[in-house]
Every structure is written in structure tokens, then in C-alpha cells.
């Protein structure tokens, strides 16, 4: 049956059709829609399945892995930097193996569209010695979920599926199974202490040897089942292109459009590779070029003087693939003459930059403004964390960003290293429960003196508003009580659009900080402007315009508050775009030094 699907939708449907009925993970672009779509299908098919967001990726991995040990088919979803968090569990699980099946979906982000780093999860699979499948399109992602689940069951190992952003967020008309024909496996944990209890070295050593044997068997399977049939279909040209995942799409289009004579061999499972068989294949070619995104995962497993790629500096080493980059590599290798056929003149005039920014009406903007207003940038260090509030960078309100939960531990470090400055850290509610609690306990027990402001909008906003533990279960999980449980009082403020009230609250924190001998912690109860359930009545109270006679073009509003509707009009005066303004009215009273912001008469 044909269906128009986004990659993450195709993966979710693949999970259903592969008989996976336990999914756990943590949202992260571009992976987030997988679990959400699985939940949607779960309701649609009235499936008795588990599909919940975990507090972080390691927890998600471990929940899914335990399910697989107990004999169920399971899946953990995350993005590549989330895999870093889960990697501790992965490395052990890769030794121990499993009974049912477990698919680990780690979505990569070549081109850094929404990530701090451009990592290649295939290299992580290689590091952990587990097989990895690399889909190029939503259709392949769907097919490979089923294939991966099969391989996982067959070899009793975790199998990774590594889609990239151009797969997760691509749309394609896919051929998918109809309805639901699989029966979920019933969990039945069988006690086997030498296998599942990961302690005595003798047992681990044996499992390590088994892992090495297993990976050899999978190599042979990769050749026989996946690669050999494709080799038989090659045309016998002079050059061979080895591709994987999205690299394949760019290569095939360039080869067709530019009429390049070459054999293209796509490696669906880029690790583990049957080295001997592949290198034997090279004998009939003059040159072999590897096209892969983002690390030289294939290239590192093979060796031949005929091999060209990233390691030989013939292919680009960072950023997303494109057909232009394919042609550049071919020119570097000497297969085509140097000239980029994919080029067109750019518009040379000046265009306004649209730096990533928080939505109009977002309460985070007010809190950042209030912190810099009260604590003053030159006297404070402001570490922040991963979430929408990271975009406070634009307001000049943030000094450092490292990784999930890093703001709290870095606040500790700054408090120790530079005690003359006030340290004011910000972190979101989802990030706090993900990995902010442990560093807060650390700070309380070691009396690190800083201010921590938890921005609680009751959703994982940046990745598409996934449910948080507190939102699902507010009676049991309450950030204020978590903070108190860590051994410190929690100042609470319920956000109001009157900016002066937020500033007053931050002033009270400053007073507390001046007397404090340890961390001062606050939670600001906010909302996300895109959250239909909670935003009701919060926006559109008063729309704003600029009194052009009063505006002195001082730039303060657009520098320190930086709300997207603010722009310069043709006279060089500030103006508000009426189609972008959310009517939150936060900017009305405090921001403008000459009071040029006025309430709009008519909407």
C-alpha cells in the first residue's frame, strides 16, 4: 500500500510492522517524531504497546534493552548527541547481547542543522561492535527497521539504524505493509546470572570473545545477503563508487545528470564490512571512491592504493553532502574535469540576517532580559543549557553552552574559578530532569555559590513539545520538590507578561544570592507560546506599535530584547511586524528608554 510519509513517520510505521511493542527514548532533532508517531500508530492500531519518553537517552536505552533481555522486540530512539549520553549502557549491552530484538535508532545531523556537533553514529556502532544500517530515503528507513529487527533477533545483538536529517525529515511516497500482521512477543525474563550480571571478569572475557566471533559471522552475512546480490548487478565500468545512506542519493543523481560512467555499490550495512571480499572486488577497477556522510566509517575498514575518500583528502570532511561536493571529489580524484555544474549566481544585495531566535511572546526572553538587567553582564557569568532558551545568545544573555545539563555543573566550576563574578545559570524543565539534578546535588553538597533559574514551560519545547515527566505526573514529579529534595530551598515565580514583575523576582534572587553560602535555586513557571493547551489567555492581551516621533534609534530593544517582529522601517525607525507580534505586551513598559513602545489602538 502506498503512503506519503516523512522519514520519521516511516520509521515509526516500520517499528509497528516489525512487531516492536516497546519504545523508549528522549526527543532530539531530527529524531523526535519517531516516538510521537509510534504513539499515534499505537492508538490507530489499538496496540497494547509501551511508548513513553524517558528522562534521558541512557534511561531510554536501558528501559528498551531490559525489554529485549526479557525477550521482547524493543526500540530506543535518540539523536546522535543523545547517543553520547546512552553510550555507557550501549558499550556493555554490545558485549552482553539480548534475547528478543532491539533496534537503536540514532539520528545524525550532517550540516549541523540543529546540533552542537556533526557526529557519525556509524562510527559509534563500529566502536561498540554492533551492526549498523544506513538508510538513504524514508522508504529504505521503513524497510531497514524491519531488516534490523530481524538481524537483531538472528544474532542476539543490538542493531543500530542510523538515519540522517535528510532521511528523518524527508518526505516520500512509500510502499508499506497493510494493517498489522505481527504478534508482539511476550516478555519472560529467564534468570542467567553469568550472562546478564555484568561483573566477573572471566564471564566478560568470554562475552568479549563471543562478540568478536559474532561480528565475523555478521560480516559474512552482510556479504552474502546484502552485498553479493548487488555486486552481481554491477555493469563492469572502470571506476567503482562505494556509497552509504544519503551519500548514495547525491551520487546517483550526479552520475545520471552528468553522464558519468561508473559502477555504484551502495553498502546498506556500513559496519561490519567483509573486508576481504570487498578488496578482492577492487581488482577489476582502476579507482574506487567512497562517498559517505559524515565520517570515513567505510573507508577506515578498507585498505587499497586504489581507494579515494576523506582519509586521502579527496572528499570533504565536514558539512552535509551535495551533488556539488560529489563533483568536487570526482574532480579531485581526476575522474571529471574541474568545474562545478551546480552553481547559480547569488543575490548580491544586503539581506537581513535571521539568527535563530525565540518565538514572539516567549517568556524565556523576559527572564533572560531580567537576569542581564539585574546582574549586569560585566559583573556576571551566565552559563546556559540545551533548549529554546539557548537562543538567548541573541540577546547577549548567555556566556556558555556545552551539553545537556552542563549549565549546572559549569556554574559550579565558574563559582570556584572566578568567585568575584556572580554566576547565574539557566536550564529548562526537561533538561533539568534529563541531567541537571545530579550536578545540583553536587553543588549543594559542596556549597557552590551561584544562582540557578529553572525555566519551566512544562514541555520539551525545542524538539516539538514532547511531554515531560512533570507534565504527565504533576502530583508525583514536581521540580520545586525535586530541588527541595536535593537539599536547597526553591524560589518560585509564576510568569506574568509585565516585565517589571519578572525583574522584581530576579532582584529578590540577587538579594538571596548576596547572603547565600551555596546555590540559590528558582523555578519560573512559564508556558510555551506554541502549546495550545497551556497558552490560552496568555497572549494577545495588547498589541504594540512604535511611536515614531519618540523612537531615537538607540537599538536597545533590538539588541537586548530582540523579539522577531522588531525591525527597522524605511525611515530607519523601529517598527513591529503586525503579522509576527503575538501580543504578549512584555515589551511595553520596561524596555524602551524613551517610552516609544505604545499600545496599538486597533488590531
Amino acid at each position: 500500500m502506498k503512503q506519503t510519509l516523512m522519514g520519521n513517520d516511516a520509521i515509526a510505521l516500520g517499528l509497528i510492522h516489525a512487531g516492536i511493542d516497546m519504545v523508549s527514548g528522549y526527543p532530539g532533532t531530527p529524531s523526535s517524531e519517531i516516538l510521537a508517531n509510534f504513539q499515534k500508530y499505537k492508538h490507530h492500531f489499538k496496540l497494547d504497546a509501551y511508548a513513553e519518553w524517558a528522562t534521558n537517552e541512557k534511561v531510554g536505552f536501558e528501559v528498551a534493552y531490559a525489554g529485549a533481555i526479557a525477550g521482547k522486540r524493543t526500540c530506543a530512539t535518540m539523536k546522535q548527541v543523545g547517543l553520547n549520553v546512552a553510550s555507557d549502557a550501549l558499550m556493555s549491552a554490545a558485549y552482553i547481547g539480548l534475547k528478543g530484538a532491539m533496534l537503536l535508532v540514532s539520528a545524525d545531523d550532517p550540516g549541523f542543522y540543529s546540533s552542537q556537533t556533526e557526529q557519525d553514529s556509524r562510527s559509534f556502532a563500529k566502536f561498540a561492535r554492533i551492526p549498523v544500517l544506513d538508510p538513504a530515503t524514508p522508504q529504505e528507513a521503513y524497510d531497514m527497521v524491519k531488516l534490523g529487527t530481524k538481524i537483531s533477533h538472528l544474532f542476539e545483538t543490538v542493531v543500530m539504524l542510523r538515519p540522517v536529517m535528510r532521511v528523518c525529515h524527508a518526505r516520500e511516497i512509500c510502499e508499506v505493509d497493510e494493517g498489522l500482521s505481527v504478534t508482539p512477543l511476550e516478555g519472560n525474563f529467564e534468570r542467567n546470572v553469568p550472562r546478564w550480571g555484568a561483573v566477573p571478569p572471566a564471564g566478560r572475557f568470554r562475552q568479549g570473545l563471543e562478540q568478536l566471533e559474532r561480528i565475523e559471522v555478521i560480516k559474512a552475512w552482510n556479504w552474502k545477503e546484502l552485498i553479493a546480490p548487488k555486486v552481481a548487478a554491477l555493469k563492469g565500468e572502470k571506476v567503482l563508487f562505494l556509497t552509504s545512506g544519503t551519500g548514495d542519493g547525491y551520487v546517483r543523481e550526479a552520475v545520471t545528470e552528468q553522464a558519468i560512467k561508473a559502477d555504484v555499490l551502495k553498502l546498506d550495512m556500513p559496519y561490519p564490512l567483509p573486508k576481504t571480499e570487498l578488496e578482492a572486488l577492487f581488482a577489476s577497477y582502476a579507482k574506487v571512491v567512497v562517498f559517505e556522510e559524515s565520517y570515513p566509517c567505510i573507508e577506515e575498514q578498507l585498505s587499497s592504493p586504489k581507494l579515494y575518500g576523506k582519509l586521502t583528502k579527496h572528499a570533504h570532511e565536514i558539512d552535509e553532502f551535495s551533488k556539488a561536493k560529489v563533483m568536487e571529489t570526482l574532480a579531485n580524484v581526476g575522474i571529471v574535469k574541474k568545474a562545478n555544474p551546480y552553481q547559480s549566481p547569488k543575490f548580491t544585495g544586503e539581506l537581513p540576517r535571521r539568527a535563530p531566535n525565540m518565538c514572539p511572546g516567549c517568556p524565556h526572553r523576559d527572564v533572560h532580559y531580567a537576569i542581564t538587567d539585574v546582574f549586569k553582564k560585566e559583573h556576571a557569568i551566565c552559563p546556559s543549557d540545551i533548549g529554546c532558551y539557548t537562543l538567548g545568545l541573541n540577546q547577549g544573555a548567555i556566556d556558555t553552552i556545552l551539553c545537556m545539563g552542563g549549565s549546572v555543573s559549569m556554574a559550579s566550576g565558574f563559582a570556584v574559578a572566578d568567585p568575584k563574578k556572580a554566576v547565574v545559570a539557566t536550564i529548562g524543565d526537561s533538561t533539568f530532569t534529563h541531567s541537571g539534578v545530579a550536578p545540583l546535588i553536587n553543588a549543594v553538597y559542596q556549597n557552590h555559590r551561584f544562582v540557578l533559574v529553572i525555566l519551566d514551560n512544562s514541555t520539551t519545547a525545542m524538539t516539538g513539545r514532547q511531554t515531560t515527566p512533570e507534565r504527565s505526573n504533576p502530583a508525583q514529579v514536581d521540580i520545586k520538590r525535586i530541588v527541595e529534595g536535593c537539599g536547597v530551598a526553591c524560589h518560585e515565580y509564576f510568569y506574568e507578561p509585565e516585565l517589571s514583575k519578572t525583574i522584581d523576582f530576579v532582584r529578590s534572587l540577587k538579594t538571596a544570592y548576596e547572603k547565600a553560602t551555596g546555590p540559590v535555586v528558582a523555578v519560573v513557571r512559564e508556558f510555551c507560546v506554541l502549546d495550545k493547551e497551556k497558552v490560552e489567555g496568555q497572549l494577545g492581551r495588547a498589541f504594540v506599535e512604535i511611536d515614531q516621533d519618540l523612537c531615537v534609534e538607540c537599538d536597545w530593544c533590538i539588541t537586548a530584547f530582540k523579539c522577531p517582529p522588531m525591525h527597522y522601517d524605511e525611515n530607519g525607525k523601529m517598527a513591529i511586524d503586525p503579522f509576527l507580534c503575538a501580543g504578549c505586551s512584555s515589551c511595553l513598559d520596561v524596555i524602551c528608554p524613551v517610552d516609544a513602545f505604545v499600545e496599538k489602538e486597533e488590531v
Partner: protein
């Protein structure tokens, strides 16, 4: 048939909605379709561009100098994405005033913001309005009005009537202007 479309706008204007409508239209018309979206970290107010590739393609992204059509929901985003068009052969459909600069492509502009300000249509239907304008202006556009209507209905039956009305209003406005 091969036809490549870039859709550009600002977060919140509904560019992604258009990709969904066009990919559903392709499926209804029995055409092959690959599409994808580029957006940064901001959800509202940031630059967004989307690709739709109809026909035999393998990679969802569009390279520079390759697109047949650029639908821009905002003038500056049109200019930012111009170089994705085929040199001398691309068509631009843009929400802009007559002050849109001279460029080496066939440009059809309509000042949709002014129309929305005058309450000619609700601003949240800007994307559908521009799609209607495209239907009226681009002779090579690979879908019929009927196919687009069906896709809009399939995508969200509840809002279909309202959206189809805006679609026709744009077509009528475009014809009246010509």
C-alpha cells in the same frame, strides 16, 4: 517529468504545510516525489526553506542552480534562495511589493501582506494564497487545481473549505490583475 520546487519563508508562515500538500498531490497524481525541509533552531521568525522534487530523484535536497520554481512567502527569503533556481530558466512566485528588485528570472509578485492587512484573507492562509497564485501564474506547475484541492482536503478535512476558498480567491486575484 522532472520538476523541482523550492518553498521559502519565515517560521510560522506555513512553508512546511505546502510541502505536505504538494507531496500528497503527487501521490494522488501517481507521481514520484521526494521532499525535505531546512529550518534552523528557531520555531517562529527564522528562515525556512523546503524542497519538493517530482520525478526520478534519489536525494531529497536540491542543489544550487537546479530548481524550476521558487515559491516565496516573503520577499527577503525569495532573494536568499534565488540561486537554487536554474540560471535563466527559473520562475519566482513571491509575496512582495512592486519594489522587488530586478533579477534574471521570470518573477510574478503579489503583495499578499497588504491584502491580508485589508482583511482580504486571513494571514494564517498566506501559504495557501501563494499556492493559488502559483497555480494561476506558473504555466509549467505540474499540478491541476483539482489535484491541489484534493490534497488540501486529504491533509486536513476540517480546514479544507476555508483553505480552498483562499486558493480560489488567489487564482481570481491573479487573473484579475493580468
Amino acid at each position: 517529468m522532472k520538476y523541482q520546487i523550492v518553498i521559502a519563508g519565515v517560521g510560522g508562515q506555513g512553508a512546511v504545510f505546502l510541502v505536505k500538500v504538494l507531496s500528497i498531490a503527487a501521490s494522488l497524481a501517481g507521481q514520484k516525489c521526494l521532499g525535505t525541509e531546512n529550518h534552523g533552531m528557531s520555531q517562529r521568525g527564522g528562515s525556512v526553506s523546503c524542497y519538493v522534487k517530482l520525478g526520478d530523484f534519489y536525494a531529497p535536497a536540491i542543489d544550487e542552480g537546479q530548481a524550476d520554481l521558487l515559491i516565496a512567502l516573503e520577499a527577503t527569503e525569495a532573494l536568499r534562495n534565488l540561486h537554487y533556481l536554474k540560471p535563466n530558466a527559473g520562475t519566482v512566485i513571491v509575496n512582495a511589493t512592486s519594489e522587488f528588485p530586478e533579477v534574471a528570472y521570470k518573477v510574478y509578485h503579489t503583495d499578499a501582506f497588504s491584502k491580508a492587512r485589508n482583511k482580504a484573507f486571513p494571514i494564517d492562509a498566506l501559504n495557501v494564497y501563494m499556492l493559488g497564485f502559483t497555480l494561476a501564474k506558473d504555466p509549467n506547475f505540474p499540478f491541476t487545481c483539482k489535484e491541489i484541492e484534493q490534497a488540501i482536503t486529504k491533509m486536513n478535512p476540517k480546514l479544507a473549505e476555508k483553505n480552498i476558498n483562499v486558493l480560489h480567491q488567489a487564482i481570481n486575484d491573479a487573473k484579475a490583475k493580468a
